[in-house]
Amino acid sequence: MSKLSRRDFIKISGTATAGLAMTPPLTSIMGAIFGEEKTPHLLENEAIKTPTVCEVCFWNCAGWTYTDKEGKIHKVIGNEKDPHSNGRLCPRGTGGLGMYYDEDRLKKPLIRVKGKDGKQEFKEATWEEAFDVIIKGMNDIEKKYGKESMALLFHGKTGPHFEHLFKAWGSDTMGEPAGAQCLITREAGFIATYGAGLASPEPTDVRNTDCLVLIGNHIGENMHNGHVQEVSELIDKGGTIITVDPRFSTMAAHSTKWLPIKPSTDLALLLAWMNVIINEGLYDKDYVAQYTYGFDLLKDHVQKYTPEWAESITTIPAGDIYETARMMGGASPRVIIHPGRHTAWYGDDTQRTRAIAILNAILGSWGREGGFYFPEKVKLPKEAHPPFPKPKWSWKTISRDKHKLAIMGITNEIIDHALPEYKGPYKVKGMFITATNPIQSIPPEDKVKRALQNQDFIVVVDTMPSEITGYADVVLPEATYLERLDHLRTAHHRQPNVALRYPAVKPRWETKPGWWIAREIGVRLGLKDFYEWEDFEEVLDWQLKQVGSSMEELKQVGVKYFPRKTPMYLKDGEEYWFNTNTGKIELYSTDFADWGYDPMPVYKDHGEAPAGYLRLIYGRLPMHTFGRTLNNPYLWELKNEPNLWVNPKVAKLYGIENGQEVWLKNLKGKVSSFSIKVRVTERIRHDSVFLPHGFGNKGRIFVNGKVEEMSRAYGRGISDSEMVYKIEKDPVTGGTGMRNNFVTILTENPHKKEELS
């Protein structure tokens, strides 16, 4: 495209009949009188660009923070070399600067004055005063119950700083909602099958595939950036996309084939697909013969799961099941049945995700171009420190005896051990919580609240206030990702790479980066030996130098690639040892057989909504990361009110009109705190309602020196976590299935009645 010179744009008229100026425009005179208008744009060549790694979600895209000479942040733009973003951030990343500009942020350390029940009775304090309370609190827990009784709940890139602190101090009682509430079941399903998990980003070779199957996976509604981009490339290529969803999701709308499934019956469909693919010989015979274990057992096992049987369960016509199975078989091995991310649904989730793993295995897609590639990451050496003390018990102690594949700390086990009714030896009596709001992230809400009230001591470290800050004894204000340094991103990908997050500006108010907070606490706890550096930048520089780079280089490039050491795909007929008992892909899991779990997935019925109730389905909005972005002014602009999706038939039954305000009541009789506006839409089945997760913030927060509501997020819509009354625990992992909860719609304000009576 030819260049136009910015200042010399010629003013021409839009149509043939020109505007006729009788006198020269008064622009210059007016400008002189009223002040020349400043150009609002930060031009590309005037911008100062600092590398960053986005923290608005776990995809952790690398980008550049654009600041002007005065140090004002103007925008955040993707780094073109970054394989997570390819230079294009999602709306949350683009709006990430709203986290920095949010005036509701935690600004100063807060110390509780009295109470412990979610009420915000704090005084502002200095960091010294706050540290004194924390040291005393942690020491008290140690004296009374042992260090192990102080648990760490964390999320995001800030987590590792506090993991280090806790391990150095002597507690390994920790967990993150990203496990039990999200992807642990999927990891377990794939580990049981391939001896390897998927981690993040999932190594799906969507870009090169011919057929992508999404089952309960809402790419486009979840903005898992790299995957959204690759699906887009797939659409360009004219590849096949099959979406299985009870909702007509965004991706369903863009799919070749949408299978509107009855919720909770996904495993029936997966088994029926196996049935067709095996019986019609559509599977990858050489691959199955060479790499898999238990094919004959699987073949026998799926015989009863015919498409006709599945039709009666899933309500998907058998013909569609045959058709889609043949599409997958036709594309084999360039086919991906996507593992999804949040897979904690119905309590048999490891079995369902294992069915996905098995289906991929018989289609030969694991380790194949257009299937799953073998990702690689840079292994950075860890900074030297004395060995961590060995705690008497840890997250493993309280999870692994019940759940053999509890591969991460199970947050809800920690919560269970923190309840007053827990009388065993592994009591949790103190909590250190960073970058997560367990009130919303670890349902059921009532249980978490009881656990929190049973704690002797709670510390919260976060950038924003939320419901959880109300339960803290000390609240520490963390700097946002644009103001701080964190560990290097070394996530695995097609090509190993390292990305740097570097502060673009000084932290606002009295906020501090997570590494500084963790170190200050560590030093005060007498752990100086574990912190032989003053500034975390020294650690990163040392790490980078060990792999032949430096901070200096990373500050220039943001993302640096390293050569692969192993091939990305299996070669034809290549010998390959899988990390399982048999050394093969286990279609029949020998571990599961030993542990007493079904060695091959067995369909189980999960029940239906009782009369007058609807299944509660929750999901994502592309412009929000759960509840934590709601108050971000930019993202708030995009979507500030959730809607409850209701099928027109249901709406008619309840006498509800589009846009009407309603309340929800769950099967246990609990009524939602707030109302929500109904969207009457054909995009949802008649037996379910849908609402996006993360809304319904109801924390009154201590902000700007007083207790008030968050200026934007408070009280908009219903929190699905509040409505969840029942967890279906996955026996293999301890994952918490949350999709077997039923609600009914109330058209009259239930809170008004209470006030009257």
Binding site: T15, T17, G19, L20, A21, M22, T23, P25, L26, M30, F34, M623, E637, L638, K639, N640, E641, P648, R679, V680, T681, E682
Partner: protein, 331 residues
Amino acid sequence: MEERLFQTARDIHGLYPHVHIWGFPIAAYLFLGGLAAGILLFATLYYLKGKEDSMPFTVKIAPIFTFWFVIIGLLLLVYDLHHPKYVLELFTTFRIESPMSWGAWTLSAVSILSLLWPLSYIDDIEAYFHGRGWHQMDKITKFLRDLEHKWLIPHFIIITFRKYRTFFAWILLFLSIILGIYTGILLSAFNAHPLWNNSILGPLFLTSAVSTGSAFVMWLSNNKKERKLMSSIDMALIATELFFIIHMIMGMQAGPEAYKQAAHLFLGGEFTVIFWVLFVGFGLLLPFILEALELKGKHIPPALPALLVLVGGFLLRLIMVAAGQMSEYPF
């Protein structure tokens, strides 16, 4: 079912999802402009027909008000601007395709001529005031007369105006027609709003403008003949307006979906009652009946039908401004 909805919030206050940026000031501006046009139309027309002396109120007195109507109208327009510090731009640029530009210039021109027109009749006006016993106006007329006599330039202007009054009458007649049409064209130029974007709205507003002008004369004139004439003219205008309204709504009904929806605003929609009962009922039919009764010799206070027509005229503009902004193409 079909849904069209905002995926990203776009609730700009007062703008979206429904544009509502023009309200009372613009409606009043259009009304006052139309009223002034109507009065000046009669004044110049009857002057040119040589009825200067037989219809003194129409030709000489009523135009006194027009200057003020136009000035108030212009002030309302400026008041309604969101970026008024640059208002001079409006009067230093003329854009042939912009009705707003036409309006600003026409109103400016009319305001000058409508000031000079009554000044040129200062003796007659004084006599008229004396005739009605309004001696408190003496001070003003004396001041104006002094101004004319003591100062060279005003003196020269007024003398010239008197000398070429016929010429200026033609110009003012032309400008008043432009002004009357303009008040309708301003809205109908916006094809983004189907309700406004029809060829009937211009003539309807012009008719209504002339009708309010006649009502104004009818109301304040003390000359029975003048009143009677204006009353019969007004009846004809009201009949024309009714014809235009029915024609306009039928036309929209026969149009594409967006136009049907525009018509629906008056046929069951939000503006049904206010339009048919208040405007058509009390602003057109009732004054028509009252005027008819008066012509038949029934005693009706002349102010009553006149005021109804004036209020109705304002209501028409208010309704059209508000409803028009609600009539949009689907987003």
